[in-house]
Each structure stands twice: as structure tokens, then as C-alpha cells.
Symmetry: C2
Subunit: 330 residues, 2 copies
């Protein structure tokens, strides 16, 4: 039952794309609305969240009959992700996303505010029109967690007393909450037993943690980072990520990092400072410890799958985890 | 049946406030979240939208049993309004709202983006948790219309070819869509017949038009406006409101206004220009025509009530309309 076939997932993902296109239709109102929606539709992500949702859905006894609805839900989870990226880019003042100009850099911050709101409104309409009453509230819950993660992160900016606990709470909201929603929505809509649903939610959360820590590590281990170029954007903005927080647990690394943070706060964080941070975080073991955590969350995510009855899905999850450890999160 | 008693509405509005407080509870996450939610809760508006909803609800045969749910819905409609004000203030860069500092001026634009999103997420959670499946999609529809109104208005900025039709489409989204939602949600949730529901929606739309035109007129007829001080903020931002659009239908007013618009675009719109605009719009009959339109929409709104069976509500609607013609819209 629900035996996994690779071709099925491909067909489902094509269906997800069709629903995305429908949700991003131009209302024909003029303004820049049509162009914005077209740009949003053309930004191709890895669609990891719909994939998580569809894989989780395979553990439910209603999977076959729910398949079409799961594809719709997959599109809605991706839309939440898209809306959050549009609003995040306003805050980060980011010029590029997935290699393309961000909505805010192309259309201005003002339009980006309403573009994100417009996507959220489309999600709400679809959740009600298609009768997703079992999972609708979870969407609201995830968006609330995402807001709290971002607001929590802002509250920690330039604060050297930020703790690893605070960091984990913030990345729960920023990344893990939506991965959890994907698994939860897939599980509930397909009729999983409660214990299976809980395991799948755990998988989503750990998947999300792994993802975000990986993203934060990339700021240090990419080629650009080694050369001190255009990286450590988080640190420049005063955001302390896991490798930095671990490095700060020991002296003299802590003192050095605090001094660099003050430079960043004063807008004096250049190539020299970036290389200095890079060296301190690496030599103090901050990178290694963060990498070990990433591995731990990947293992936890896998364990959640391995206790579940095998429909051939765990292999795919495993592949997704490995690809995500290597590839990009967003 | 459903005979209107003033004390009942007062009791219901107190219940609306209780639900608002519950929806604005501090999640205890830290950051500035608790403070922001407290500030939002303390900003006292006239609660016109929940009032519209509760009055519309009186025409339904399920009113008595639905009363408690209508109070909840009233709070949610007001929350949509609050969320939209937070996001609008980001765009307008407004320092004050209802006499108090705006969220964006007090906490920064970045936090204001997520504060608005957080309110939207709370609305979605409540709509699903309380089982508002009959009206949930209408909330999404109204938010979509509001985004389109704002984006439509942005597209018209500094454009002297803006038409009265475009203006009406934009204010439908900016103001009328939410008044319509209030009446629609009240009507549907209380079990109004379809024709009564349609009439109440008409009332909401016309009420909204009247509101917004009144707001736009105030920019010209308030004492400050007559002295050319700190007013015509819309025109400074390149937004052509109804009095201006009517004034532009005739020469030589049109030429003068276009010249002033170019000054505003170049950031050279001072007291002298404001007084000049004031004179042109008044002397060309723009003010009088816009005021006549306002009166017409008020009459249309009243007509919708007067064809309905009288539960004693039409008097209250009439009072609300008159108060709104004189007092503030937001």
C-alpha cells in the first residue's frame, strides 16, 4: 500500500506546479500586480516543502484518495514560503534571491509588502474554498511561528549575550516551523495515525534545524567565505549564528568576536574583519561543533523515518536529507 | 424578532473588545512582540467595522444563537483593519496614527512587516479553530482586494491621466472591501436570506465609498487645510483624490494642477503650493462635486437599509452613517 514510485512523485510535483500557477494567476487589475505574480512564479526553488508534504502523506491510509488534495496543499505550503521570502527580503534589503532580483529590489519595498500579503490572502482563500478545515489552523500557526522567529532574531541583533537556546528558538520559527507544517499537513490530510503524525512532525522540525544550520555554515565554508568576500552577511547585520555562538563560548575567541561585532555595528566590517572572524570561528572549533549539530539533526530526522513502516519512502527521505545537506536550503 | 436594543449592541461591543484582547495576547516569546501587541490593543478606533457586522447580523434568523460568534467575527474584522493599518503605515512612512506613534515609527519598518503578518496569522487561526468555514474565504478575498487597492493606487502615483474609475476601483480595495466583508460576514453567519445578504453587502460597499471620499475631502476642508499646513499629504505623494480628479476635468484648473503635481514629484510642494491647490480645487467645483458624491453614496447605503424589514436597526445605521460623515473614518 502506498508503495513509493519515483514517477508518482514526479507526476505529483508537476501537479503542484499547476496549482502554484493557478494560485499566482493575474487578477487583471493592472498596476504591477501581474508582473509581480509572474516573477514570483518564475523563481524556481527546489520545492522541498511540497516534497516533504507529499512524502509524509504516503504514510496515511487515505493517501490514494487524498493525493490530489495533497498536491494542492503542497502548492500552498510553497506559497507560504514564497510570501515569507518576499517579506524577509524587505527586511534584509536583499538585491538577489535564487539568482534573480528580489521583488523589493525590482518593485520597491512598498509593493513588496502588499505582494507578500496578496500571496497570504490567496492561501487563505484556497484553504477555505477547498475545505482544508483539518489543517488550516496549522498554516496560521506556522506563519505566527515564522513571525516570532524573525522578530526574535531582530531582538538578538548585536547582542553578545545571545544564547544557543535563543538561536534554536529563532531558527525554529525561521525554518523548522514551515518544514513541520509540510509534514503535519501531509500526515493529517492523508489520515495518518496520531503517533505516526507526531513522528513525521519531528522529522520536519529536525529537517528544518539541519537546513538552517547548514545555511549558516555555508557562510563560513564556501569558497567566497574563505576569501572573506561578500559573506558573513548575518554577522554584518549583527546576527550571531551557531558557529559564532559556539566559538564565543571560549576565550580568547569570545573577546575577539565581541570586538568584531562592535566593528560591524559601527559599519566598519570589511574584508579584513571577515577573514579575522573566519579564522577565529574555525580555530576555536565553532565550525566543527556546528557541523556536528547539523549531522545530529540529520540523524534525528532519519531516525524518525526509520521507525515508521517502510513504504520505500525512507530511502527518498534519506536522499532528500543528503541532497539538502549539500545543496541550498531555499 | 431581533428587535434592536442599544444596550445589546453595547454589550456586544464589550464582547468584541474581549475577543480582541484575547487575539492580541502576548505569546511570551520575548523580542518586542509583547510590546507591539499591547500597543496595537491600546490604539482605540471607532470599531466601525465590528459595528457594521453586528448590525448586519440582526437581519438573520439565527441572530440570537449566532450572537456570540458574531462578536468573535467582529473582532477578526477589526484585526484585519489593524493589520492593514500597520502595513499601510510602512508604505506611507506615517509617524502618527489615531494620535499615537505608528508601529513602524516606534519599532521600525522591519518589525512592522512581521507585526502585520502576525495579526494576519492570528486571524487565520481563529477562523479555522472557531469553525468559520462559511465566511473564511471572504476574509481572504477582502485582504486580496485591499492589496490590489493599495497596489493600484501606487500605480497611479503622479499620473495626471488617472481616471475617476481608477480612483473608485482603488478605494473599493482600500476601504469598501472591508466594510463589505463586515456586512457580508454578519449576514452569512446569522443566516440572512441571499437577497438580504446582497443588500447588506451593497450597504457595506457604499458605506466604504462614502467613508473614503469623506476622508479625502477632509484634506481640503479641515482648518489646517485652509491654512495650507501639513495637509494634502496624498497629493504630495502623487495620489490624486476625487476632489482633485474632478477639478482636473476642466481647464485652466487642469493645467495648474498638473504643474503642481510636477512640483510635488520634484519634492517642491510647500505651503504656497498647498494653498494654490486648495484654491484651484475649490474654485473649479472639485470639492462640491466630491461632496455631492459622498452624499450620494451615503443615500445609497441608507436605501439598502430602508428596503429591509425594520428591526429598529435602520435608525442605528442612519446614526452611524451620519456620525461617519462628520467624524473620522479610521
Amino acid at each position: 500500500m502506498n508503495r513509493f514510485e519515483k514517477e508518482d512523485l514526479q507526476r505529483e510535483m508537476a501537479e503542484v506546479e499547476r496549482h502554484l500557477t493557478a494560485c499566482l494567476r493575474d487578477p487583471g487589475f493592472g498596476g504591477a500586480i501581474g508582473e509581480i505574480l509572474r516573477d514570483v512564479g518564475e523563481s524556481k526553488g527546489k520545492r522541498l516543502r511540497p516534497r516533504l508534504l507529499l512524502l509524509a502523506g504516503r504514510y496515511g491510509e487515505r493517501f490514494e484518495t487524498a493525493r490530489e488534495r495533497l498536491c494542492r496543499l503542497g502548492a500552498l505550503v510553497e506559497l507560504v514560503h514564497m510570501a515569507s521570502l518576499i517579506h524577509d527580503d524587505i527586511v534584509d534589503d536583499a538585491p538577489l534571491r535564487r539568482g534573480a532580483p528580489t521583488i523589493q529590489s525590482k518593485y520597491g519595498k512598498d509593493r513588496a509588502v502588499y505582494a507578500g500579503d496578496l500571496l497570504l490572502s490567496r492561501i487563505v482563500q484556497s484553504l477555505f474554498r477547498d475545505g482544508f478545515t483539518r489543517v488550516g489552523a496549522f498554516f496560521g500557526e506556522a506563519v505566527e511561528a515564522m513571525c516570532m522567529g524573525e522578530l526574535g532574531q531582530m531582538a538578538c541583533r548585536f547582542r553578545e549575550d545571545t544564547t544557543v537556546d535563543q538561536y534554536m528558538r529563532n531558527i525554529y520559527g525561521k525554518t523548522a516551523a514551515l518544514c513541520r507544517l509540510a509534514c503535519r499537513a501531509g500526515a493529517v490530510e492523508s489520515g495518518c495515525r496520531e503517533d505516526v503524525q507526531a513522528q513525521l512532525e519531528d522529522l520536519g522540525v529536525n529537517f528544518g534545524y539541519m537546513f538552517q544550520i547548514r545555511d549558516d555554515l555555508l557562510d563560513f565554508v564556501s569558497d567566497a567565505a574563505r576569501e572573506g568576500k561578500c559573506t558573513q552577511m548575518d554577522f554584518r547585520e549583527g546576527i550571531l549564528t551557531l558557529p559564532v555562538l559556539y566559538a564565543m563560548e571560549k576565550e580568547p575567541a569570545r573577546q575577539k568576536i565581541v570586538a568584531l561585532l562592535r566593528e560591524a555595528e559601527a559599519g566598519r566590517f570589511g574584508e579584513k574583519e571577515a577573514q579575522c572572524l573566519q579564522e577565529v570561528v574555525a580555530s576555536s572549533g565553532g565550525l566543527a561543533r556546528a557541523a556536528a549539530d547539523m549531522e545530529m539533526y540529520a540523524q534525528k530526522a532519519l531516525q524518525a523515518v526509520e521507525t515508521l513502516p517502510d513504504h520505500g519512502v525512507s530511502d527518498v527521505f534519506r536522499g532528500l536529507l543528503q541532497k539538502s545537506q549539500q545543496g541550498g536550503c531555499r
